[in-house]
Amino acid sequence: MKGFSVALFVLITITAALALVMQTTVFQFLPLIPDMLLILCVYLGLHQHSVGGSAGAFLLGYFNDSFSGNLVGLHAFAMSLVFILVYLVSKRLWMDNVVSNVAVVFVASVLKAATISALLAFYLSLDFPWSEFLSTVWFEAIAAALMAPLVFAMLDGGKRLWGID
């Protein structure tokens, strides 16, 4: 597991920008919007066990915050948490196959939604939004999990193309 190179930073930045544009425009026509930035965050957690990976996860969340809602730091916190948990899991389990990738993105999506719900409840002094959480989380998680193999394959392809280890 190598560090976070400049080439990888550029690759992730371009992918994140494209993912966010898709999320805010094209995917709005779909019944479900897959959380592409979360998939990138999970990818970092699985493959970038470095300070750069951790910073990348935070920046992905901050990037998401800039185009979502009014509470800056919400997605940044959730993404950083997802990164560290995926990192811990990938240190202990063999995660280098499609099924485990799909599963870990599904779980990460549920975890992110739960974290956001809890933070919203805390910071806005609301009750935990169970109905919103339960009504959307599963479908969002399925959408993200289904997109994961495609995004992972594209990132791996980009890394090979750019000669990134």
Partner: protein, 293 residues
Amino acid sequence: MVEFLRRNRVFLTSGFFLSLSLGLLSANRGGTHRIDPLGIVFLEALQPLQTVTSAVADRAAAGWAEYVKLVDVNAENQRLRDAVQRLTVERHRMRELELETERLERLLDFRKKLPSNAVTARVIGRDASEWFQTFTLDRGESDGIKPGMAVVHAAGVVGRVAQVSPNAARVLLIADHNSGVDALVQRTRARGIVEGTLAGHCSMKYIRHDEGIQPGDVIVTSGLDGLFPKGLLIGRVVDVTRKDYGLFQVAEVVPAVDFTKLEEVLVVTTPPAVVNAGLDRIAPAERIEPPAP
């Protein structure tokens, strides 16, 4: 010590970023002043890409809708099919232009009635997550847009500007749970605050318990919050929750604007106090009456 730091560098960095996130959350909790140093850069950097992608996506969606309509056309008559498709696409394009003109005329008409300056802006992006109700406009600081400015539509109130970059702006819709608008029940003049909910609906809170509110009542802005000009349509009451105890009652409000279908909006660049003073000078019969939804 160095070995400890090296071995736990990922944990330590993540801990730092988690703390930084919580710090940002706490700093932005009030919602009045957004502390987001990089947000403006991101917003500005993605604006051209969003504009292009949004336009392409709209065309693709329109094209797809036309294609779906045409799947039943007889496959044997290819020449006629091509002609029909070409003409249908052309007609669709004309219809789109016609609808756009109608929308812009309505917006222009509304803008003329509004005693203030307003900038017309296009919606180029929606919120990146399902948890919030915001969207991105193709106009920004260079067009005179500033944070806090009211965003309206001929059908009613849309929201307020939350963040601005030189050529783009993000709008917090009234249906977002971070949003609050000082409002009046048009019939009874009862005051309250219209807030968004996590489900993306609106509810009017802090209405005095003894006020007689009923489903169907029209809710308008009071102009007292210093954010929105007064008298703009917010929505209609669909349900009222009045308990036997307590000081207030709550009304569920359906916004007059269908946020999913918004394409163009007006950003009111004149301060609300000036607009309200202008409205006060207009005779009651000439007051702005937003069209019924």
